[in-house]
Symmetry: C2
């Protein structure tokens, strides 16, 4: 019988972008064991129908349940936006943390002028998931939410063109409306965007960036601590976080991109089939 | 009888720099009640003798004990470096979190090439507190720690010269040795330095910045959650964090500087005398 502390935390994403979320989890709860599932054979989810995203999300959740996880983190903003309920229903008693709510709360606590910007893929922006959550948490307070789809950031980040001059030109264009609206808080509503943080700060130096991965990691810490399922802190030098990687495909540039997202190299992933 | 959850968290610093630590606490455990004490009449502690710093630290701790705090955060890097034991002894059963250990652990988990840079005031750098803690946590692993005192950053930050060209010139000079040593992780060993984060990232774009305030906030979250003393998360829009401010003097520029450190304006502080 495995004790609750010994069970792993499951993290899934449509691809490898969710590694930026895993990076935050490792930063805040480094002593845990993680299982990361990237559905790299079917990435990106962003342009698919809601029904198919729900089906894929269900399959990912079932895979993690079989791994006996104590908590599921939905690292994918698209799944968090359109299929979180499906994950929660599938997960049963296993708690689920998505990207939207922790970031919406953080954005509300961050904003002073009550003007919040959201950037994300077209799917996330169209769903208005962040806007809805922010307005729901804000109760009757007036908060203005401005959203901007930034479809080129994912391919640019995956090509490693983080400091390329054309990425800056594109970012300036994408962010211009949010800048005009004078938002003081910007939610990075896609797993790839934390890689571009430095660029966003150059373009909007006064803005407070909200990384949903960071805030979902804090939610995970809080949830596990309160339920007594947190692994105890150890006074030792961690050579390497304890992570098992599962993917549905190993694409070209996989290891390079994983290194960019995580900040450290990863072991060979185990290739699986979801259905 | 006050329940453990209802008790405030006490934070003290030699001045207002500790507000950068309070900012992180508010970010990670926003539902708590905070008491902030800034010994603004006797700031800075950095150039004083160890004995006098210990005496001041004891007085600050006693003030917070009288306020019935459930946890004490030593926001001052100098006190954390040379007088943490005094605070712990004075605090008795009340847990104490300083800046050094959480940041040392985070730096070790962050570094890949095992080269860590520390910047701080002369007092903090001379004490080698970060170096000692890092080497102690690292056990027998080889880790190189390079320290650089940056005495001008505090006055420059307090003058609000965060984006001034001369601040950049000075920062380039201070950081040049650490850059030559190829550190991949930089600990911001003074409460004022997070204000200069953007500048540090421009000078050393590949480096991972460690903000001790952030990691002490995570330690606080973990500690309170594990002891059952954490205030429950609320689904509501927080207009304003719950903070009482105490100072030993209200210096010129106080409100402006407080806003810079915290990111939001503060109420009038209560002036007290420590002895």
């Amino acid at each position: 019988m495995v004790s609750p502390q010994e069970k792993p935390i499951g993290v899934f994403d449509s691809g490898i972008g969710g590694l930026s979320v895993l990076k935050q989890l490792v930063r805040f709860i480094p002593y845990e064991r993680f299982i990361y599932l990237g559905d790299t054979a079917r990435v990106p989810y962003g342009n698919r129908s809601v029904d198919i995203v729900k089906e894929y999300a269900k399959q990912c959740t079932e895979f993690l349940i079989e791994k006996n996880v104590k908590l599921i983190i939905v690292a994918c903003n698209t799944v968090s936006s359109v299929a979180l309920e499906t994950v929660i229903e599938t997960a049963g008693k296993i708690p689920v943390i998505g990207m939207i709510k922790p970031a919406a709360g953080a954005a509300l606590r961050s904003t002073v002028n009550k003007k919040i910007g959201i950037i994300g893929t077209r799917a996330t922006v169209s769903s208005n998931s962040y806007g809805k959550e922010i307005h729901s948490l804000a109760n009757n307070e007036q908060v203005d939410v401005f959203s901007q789809a930034c479809p080129l950031f994912v391919p640019l980040a995956e090509e490693g063109m983080i400091r390329h001059s054309s990425t800056k030109v594109i970012a300036e264009e994408y962010l211009s409306v949010l800048k005009e609206q004078n938002v003081d808080t910007l939610v990075l509503g896609c797993t790839h965007y934390p890689l571009l943080s430095q660029l966003f700060k150059e373009i909007m130096p006064e803005v407070n960036l909200i990384d949903p991965g960071e805030h979902s990691a804090v939610s995970a810490l809080r949830l596990l601590a309160e339920s007594g399922e947190l692994v105890e802190e150890k006074d030792e030098f961690l050579i390497k976080p304890n992570i098992e990687f599962y993917v549905t495909d190993v694409p070209a540039l996989f290891y390079e991109q994983a290194q960019n997202f995580l900040g450290f190299g990863i072991d060979e992933p185990i290739k699986i089939t979801l259905e």
